[in-house]
Symmetry: C2
Subunit: 198 residues, 2 copies
């Protein structure tokens, strides 16, 4: 069932070891904490995905995304799904911000927003360039995000230069009519040697 | 017992409602998860604090810091204490990064680092200018931070212009001999009207 041009190969699954079963759990599947905006956008992007993905499209971030998946209570913190559009080298994330991410009263903490931006831009850069590490984040907070609301993060490639991958990201409301945050990121390609060598 | 010039008025307490008691809990007190570096630095800065603080120095962030205090397991995520030096308009935070903050294997997630930077710079800007919101964060990641290690965040005021407070922050190892991350931040003074008006 390849639909509407199949720009999205499929949501990137976030598979973590799950203590109550021998099967890993995919945190990017809908759950009862999702509001109507989150469900609607998930369905919207999911319906544009190719159903027959090859294994290469489905990535496991069993270690990398622990920070954003460390609260087990559904809906309490980071609920999100990342979709990658190969053709346009674009990446879209649907993010519902739970009550534990509060910063200013009733709104999402700037650090929680930067965490999602880093996560999604880093995922996109990894998709484009292989393993990377964040070298720079420059984030402009334009309008606070109400706690509990769903927003869209849209990432695109700016340029690649050697080991450097430059991406940018906009955080908007679900209709893309209001800009909450915009950011640029520089990611450096790494090998395990970079990490082990310090 | 005012000591050595008393540059630090005292650690900023982080007081949250605690479900198991009618007394709020101060999360910035030493606990059994703290390693030797964390304890040593806490003692170092605490010994420079005035013991007789007036009530104005002890701030409650019962709502603002929920995001960094939302994991109840001691040592699993953000363990930190913020000290403000009034005379030098400087702020120091001792931060021990727990295993749930993992990003790259064995190292702290860039989003967790930016969260601490936003939190500490925001605390410092609030201390200098009253209630503020983050307008810009520009973060350069120089060297990854090993998971479980303790680092120092040192914030200073760059300038104030009307509603704008510009601060900068360096994240170093505990001996200040290795630079892990450096950042600048712009914070805007707000009233409740800014939040309610969107």
């Amino acid at each position: 069932m390849t639909q509407r041009g199949s720009s999205f190969p499929g949501p990137l699954s976030t598979v973590l070891p799950w203590p109550f079963s021998f099967q890993p759990r995919d945190f990017s599947l809908p759950n009862s904490s999702w509001g109507s905006d989150m469900r609607r956008l998930y369905e919207h992007y999911n319906s544009q995905c190719e159903v027959e993905t090859d294994d290469g499209e489905k990535k496991s971030f069993s270690r990398r995304l622990v920070f954003t998946r460390n609260i087990r209570e559904q809906g309490a913190a980071f609920e999100y799904v990342v979709f990658v559009n190969k053709q346009e080298q674009k990446c879209v994330c649907v993010f519902q911000a739970g009550h534990l991410l509060e910063g200013p009263p009733g709104h999402v903490h700037g650090g929680a927003i930067s965490t999602m931006i880093d996560t999604v831009m880093g995922t996109h850069a990894t998709y484009l360039s292989g393993p990377v590490m964040t070298a720079n984040l420059n984030i402009n907070y334009r309008s606070p995000i109400p706690l509990g609301s769903t927003v869209l993060l849209t990432c695109s490639l700016d340029k690649k230069e050697g080991r450097k991958t430059f991406v940018s990201c906009q955080v908007t409301n679900t209709y893309s009519s209001k800009l909450h945050t915009e950011a640029t990121g520089l990611f450096l390609s790494i090998t395990m040697g970079h990490l082990l060598g310090g």
